[in-house]
């Protein structure tokens, strides 16, 4: 690896380099100089705000009302004591799990289908990237209009085909609102799964499949014993990453349902936003993400060690 080749002269001829200036001697100063701007941005705009948020979570600070008073653990106690809190956590976890599983299943099916060789596959792949490259807010606004209870496209279609007698307020009924939130999360997310799974599948040697065919392995056996193990690594990273992003997805629920009807789609990131930006209670808004931190930190640690290993291998 590059770093080792570079470091070898330094390590092996330390005595010599003391006499004759090594070309790597200036690395320490230069290294810190080059890293400094990035480090300052990260410390200043991620590190400091985060510590500041922890401090504010112990105050009753509100928007536009000065620094606020120290209230100890009151904000945490308030959120924990709130009757809807447990429900909100369960709801967030269930919606996340449902969306991630569906994305993985649809993504795997699509990757398998795209892994056949046929003409025009590259064009298809381009089309399937659209949900991933298009701005999330536009996608959600379009779906919201389609699902709208008054003038929405879905109602127009269903009514014109006689499948519905009259308009149905899809986003104003909790069951359909939750399903449609999951639907939009999956619609936006599965192409990324499919494309990374596909990339993984294409690194599997075709000789493995040929050998398995000779040994009499059927299509299913080849899928379960060659394809799936072959993309296990990629799947692990994608599932973990996607769980983090899905659980923290704020834009989609905010623009699709706004948490309604009657909190049916009020997930954790949305509640944070509502506490801090609508109720102006910054202390509580800061405390809630900190309470969710253990779960998020666990996921981040998991995926970081995974990706780190991959990157340095």
């Amino acid at each position: 690896m590059s770093q080792q080749t570079l470091s070898q002269p330094l390590a092996s001829s330390r005595a010599e380099s003391r006499r004759r200036r090594s070309p790597f001697a200036g690395d320490v100063v230069l290294g810190w100089l080059l890293v400094a701007p990035a480090l300052l941005i990260v410390l200043g705009m991620v590190g400091y705000p985060f510590l500041e948020a922890i401090r504010i979570s112990f105050t009753d600070r509100m928007v536009g009302r000065g620094p606020g008073e120290w209230v100890g653990l009151d904000n945490y106690a308030y959120i924990l004591g709130w009757p809807d809190f447990g429900e909100m956590v369960v709801r967030t976890v269930l919606i996340t799990i449902a969306a991630v599983i569906l994305k993985a299943v649809v993504g795997l099916i699509l990757a398998t289908a795209l892994n056949q060789s046929f003409r025009g596959r590259d064009v298809l792949r381009g089309v399937f990237m659209l949900p991933w490259i298009l701005p999330t807010y536009i996608i959600v606004l379009v779906w919201r209009w389609i699902f709208d209870g008054q003038t929405g496209l879905l109602n127009q279609i269903l009514v014109s085909f006689g499948l519905l007698a009259e308009n149905y307020p899809f986003l104003a009924r909790s069951g359909s609102a939750v399903s449609l939130l999951i639907f939009v999360l999956v619609w936006k997310g599965y192409p990324f799964y499919a494309l990374t799974f596909l990339a993984g599948m294409q690194t599997i040697s075709s000789e493995l499949y040929d050998a398995a065919k000779v040994d009499g392995a059927g299509r299913m056996a080849r899928f379960f014993y060659i394809t799936l193990p072959g993309i296990r690594q990629v799947m692990g990273v994608v599932l973990l990453l996607s769980t983090i992003w899905t659980m923290n997805s704020l834009e989609i629920p905010m623009l699709l349902t706004g948490g309604g009807p009657s909190n049916a789609t009020e997930v954790f990131p949305l509640l944070t936003y509502h506490l801090a930006m609508q109720n102006f209670r910054l202390g509580e808004g800061a405390a809630l993400p900190i309470m969710m931190l253990p779960i998020i930190a666990l996921l981040v640690l998991g995926v970081a060690s995974y990706m780190d290993k991959e990157a340095t291998e």
Binding site: P49, L134, E251
Partner: protein, 281 residues
């Protein structure tokens, strides 16, 4: 079940594969098709009935968003913030990534690992902290505030992307240049950067798109009309009781054009970035 599926002939299997692709493709193109066609429909047609092709194609929605709503201003704001962020991030991140992959200095390993952690911190966790910091710095409702907020995500991400790219290119030419008497900085400028152009282009596309498409921080940090970003401007077409579908679709079409063009022009780079784990979504 398994045995049954194994007995399915190859031709039928291909038919099923195509059917799956066709259904999923329909689901993707359906909303996009209606977004595009609705942008060219008169209001009466949008609300009264379902038409697959606009009966009387019109540009009135486009005129509306350009003349009556301040979409050009929002586009300009977004362009300023996106370009500034991209320019700053590329310089800062390439320097940092070079140091973290090529130079030997104490603290390097810890920082290299830290980059990934910071990149993985979800935005919802940083929303309130960032808001408080931007307010305290007096940067609310300013381009600088939006740029600074975007830097906090883009720098770790771009550094991570560039580190991966630099690791993938051989250090031999660099070492040769150092032995021939180049300084580190000369070798960075004349050898490493020219070799990393594809990686740098990928990073720039992701940053520009990321800022262009960003909604939440734009919503919270720029609440005045003069600094409003296009994402917030368009979502304002939605009121809880009433919304303007035609202008919204026309505005969406305008807003997504740069992103789609960039993607078509540089698909190769985007795919390579995808493989490098450039996600969020």
């Amino acid at each position: 079940m398994t045995a049954l599926l194994d007995r399915v002939p190859e031709s039928l299997f291909r038919v099923v594969a195509f059917a799956v692709i066709a259904i999923l493709m329909f689901m993707i193109l359906f909303p996009l098709y209606f977004m595009v066609t609705t942008a060219f429909k008169f209001e009466g047609e949008i609300y009264s009935e379902l038409t697959w092709i606009p009966r009387e194609p019109t540009l009135s929605n486009f005129r509306d968003v350009i003349v009556n709503f301040r979409i050009p201003l929002y586009l300009r704001n977004t362009l300023i913030v996106a370009l500034s962020t991209t320019a700053i991030v590329v310089v800062v991140s390439v320097l940092a990534a070079y140091a973290l992959t090529r130079l030997r200095f104490p603290g390097r390993a810890a920082m290299a690992r830290g980059v990934l952690f910071v990149y993985l911190i979800p935005g919802s966790l940083m929303l309130i902290p960032m808001y408080l910091t931007i307010v305290r710095l007096g940067l609310k409702d300013s381009y600088l505030g939006l740029i600074v907020a975007n830097l906090s995500f883009a720098v770790p991400f771009c550094t991570w992307l560039m580190m991966g790219y630099l690791r993938s290119i051989s250090a031999e030419m660099e070492e040769a240049s150092l032995i021939d008497g180049c300084t580190r900085l000369m070798s960075l400028w004349y050898i490493v950067i020219p070799l990393s152009v594809p990686g740098i282009v990928t990073a720039m596309i992701f940053i520009f798109n990321g800022v262009w498409n960003e909604f939440i921080f734009a919503l919270v940090l720029a609440q005045d009309d003069a600094h409003r970003m296009i994402s917030v401007g368009l979502s304002n077409f939605y009121r809880s009781d009433y919304y303007m579908v035609g202008p919204m679709m026309a505005g969406s079409l305008i807003a997504m054009t740069p992103v789609v063009l960039l993607y078509i022009l540089a698909q190769r780079y985007v795919v390579s970035g995808l493989a490098a784990g450039a996600v969020k979504g």
